[in-house]
Amino acid sequence: MYLTLRDRPASAPPDQPDQPDSSVAAPPRRVGRVVLTLGLVSLLTDISSESVSAILPLYLTAVVGLSTVAYGFVDGLNQGVSALVRLGGGWLADRTDRPKWVAFAGYALSAVARVFLLFAGGAASVSAVVAADRVGKGIRTAPRDSMISSATPTEHLGRAFGVHRMLDTIGAALGPLIAFGILVLIPDGFSVVLAVSLAFAVIGVALLGLLASDQRARPRPEDGPAPEPLRWSDLAEPRLRPLLLVSGGLALLTVGDGFLYLALLDRGGFAASWFPMLFVGTNIAYLALAVPVGRLADRVGRARVLVAGHLVLAAAYLCACLPGSTWTSTLGTLALLGAFYAATDGVTAALAGRLVPLRARGSGIAAAQTVVALARMGSSFGFGLLWLALGSSAALLLVAGLLVAAVLVAATQLGRLGLDRVVS
């Protein structure tokens, strides 16, 4: 919070909203106050959600008395819900041109869900609460990314998303630490973890509501004609289509992380008790690389980094099949996987936000993210069959080969991805 309050140069009047990219005149700040504020909001919210996720299996089995089979069911609910809601959130943000308040509604819904989690006893109520939390996440993601996009000059966009995703991931890493710290002090303190999680969620929502400026995509003229409304045809924007095609096509060759972890486990490089640590390892790599890779994207072109990120992913698949020291290949796989997320997650949003007219920014970002999410779901299903037919190593090698070929094809489309030129 210190950063957020002090980041603005003393000379700038405190009430003036950050300038949209279309009217940048003065030397731009590298990462705007809005981006840092949104990053801190994400950090607080991720502490909140990840502290609960970390203890949920223990809580449901030890306290609520559900079997973890029921928990698996609860967890499965989460996956499909958020992709569709995300489109709605992006569209609403554009339609109203109030992305902050649409994002606010999403964060608030997740916070309210935590209140109910404190009192939820059975599988049904826990499922409902978890689903509400995910719907909230779906609603808020696109408007938030649209705000980051609007608040940042194009040349620093990759870095801005890198900073945001880094703060977000720090929150995700702190959450479980805080949760288990509480359980060490108060051994049956599950309700305390839930209360602390609620507190972080409330502070995150308040930070967004009170201190983030209402970053709009379109400049508000004091007088003059009303801004152009969103048109559905904006989403069929010919400049967005190659991005949807390229990132969706590459996502079809993206195997779920779970499969990669199971392949590593299959090779017996480590004891199964280390399994949960694989997620931590990937997060650490992502955390460390989000900003540098974002800056690299600003320098050499975001489309290039997005496509090259999939080469890194192919390398991760190869690394998981490498003969030899399994510890090294495990760590190498996690590092490459983290690098892949750094090169694609924020970068996709940064690209999509610039390829559509301002009035469709949220919808454009949401469309790209949804295409990627749906393609990855389909790909995981297909890879399950492939694994079954070929075994883990051969299946991974095959996907790595296809991915390299797809990257080569996608590279020829780079020119059509607009190479980060600003729209309007």
Binding site: P14, T61, V69, P176, V184, V196, Y261, A272, N283, L388
Partner: protein
């Protein structure tokens, strides 16, 4: 609102939320210290004496200074005074020759462990588990132990749910590894689904056992063979089997409300005839691997709805429409130990 006012409101809100949370945490800590400081409400066998005759061994779940410790009562007097060990277990299975105990060791990195305990309740062997403990059973002569734990990931990049079920010889002997690697035959057909999970082992002898296999959204009761490394389906739609003392029947859980919610009830399968008896409307919501009290009666743990963390052990006769009865209060994970005869 001016920026200054908004900053002020925010700082005030953070202070209020932090104070309220800290107050709540302190109150919870205090009530934890209070409840966990008091003696159990049930009668205790004096001293560190254990019970040597026919007995029920279980996890004590009263909110007191013995919470989570393994305890036992005489089989003839389950509501009578209970004897406490000083061993904490989340799941426990016992035999005349020792016990298997699954525990959660909370910490900044929480660890999950399986302990093998000697007859005098000392830890003889320790194995790491890949996740939250779920089930454990010993073979009738105590030579084999099975453990099931849930491999849980991190929700940020979720892999959903997966089990790891391992069978090994007690005393640090041979391990057969994860039962997922066994050959699987479902409805007479050899299959190799990638999403298979195995859980809830019950032993017939030191070679054969029964367990649950889940794949593609369905569950099967399977018979396992350690020598041929095979799992062969016996019946569909049942999980967490438990073999009766006379070896003729399997008791297991069924999902009586398939689809969205899960609503468990119990059923019994006659292995010779394949006849299946559902225990009617009895124990709704049971989510434990049942144990046999004798050839006519089942035992299972049930969490209390109004007291988080507290469970009771109930008994129910094996017949349709039977009514469950409270068997041992403040107890969980029961095993019946009969010295001199295989349990």
């Amino acid at each position: 609102m001016s920026t200054r006012l908004r900053v002020g409101v925010f700082v005030l809100l953070v202070a209020v939320v932090a104070a309220a949370t800290a107050w709540y945490a302190l109150a919870e800590h205090q009530s934890f210290e209070q409840t966990r400081g008091r003696d159990p409400q049930v009668a205790q066998v004096p001293g560190a004496q254990t019970i040597s005759g026919p007995r029920v061994v279980f996890r004590h779940s009263g909110l007191d200074n013995r919470y989570g410790l393994v305890a036992m009562v005489p089989l003839a007097d389950p509501t009578g005074p209970r004897a406490f060990t000083d061993v904490p277990c989340d799941r426990v299975a016992a035999s005349e020759l020792g016990a298997s105990c699954l525990v959660v060791q909370p910490g900044v990195v929480t660890r999950f462990e399986a302990h093998e305990l000697s007859p005098d309740w000392q830890v003889a062997q320790t194995y790491p588990l890949p996740g939250v403990p779920s089930r454990t059973r010993l073979s009738p002569d105590g030579a084999l132990v099975a453990t099931t734990s849930f491999v849980t990931g991190h929700s940020y990049m979720s892999v959903g749910f997966s089990t790891a079920t391992v069978v090994r010889e007690t005393g640090g002997g041979r391990s057969w590894g994860n039962l997922e690697k066994f050959d699987l035959v479902l409805d007479g057909e050899q299959v190799e689904p990638v999403d298979r999970n195995v859980w809830g082992v019950t032993f017939r002898d030191d070679r054969r056992f029964y367990a649950t296999v889940g794949t593609g959204g369905r569950v099967w009761l399977v018979e396992g063979d350690l020598e041929t490394r095979t799992l062969t389906s016996v019946a569909a739609d049942g999980e967490c089997p438990s073999l009766s003392p006379d070896g003729s029947r399997l008791a297991f859980k069924v999902d009586v409300d398939p689809g969205e919610g899960r609503q468990w009830s119990l059923a019994v399968l006659d292995l010779a005839t394949g006849r299946r008896t559902e225990l009617g409307d009895g124990p709704r919501g049971v989510d434990d691997q049942v144990a046999w009290l004798d050839d006519e009666t089942l035992l299972y743990g049930l969490p209390r709805a109004d007291q988080p963390g507290v469970n009771d052990v109930w008994s129910i006769p094996v017949r349709p429409g039977a009514e469950p009865e409270l068997f041992i209060q403040e107890a969980w994970s029961p095993t019946v130990v009969r010295p001199g005869s295989p349990s």
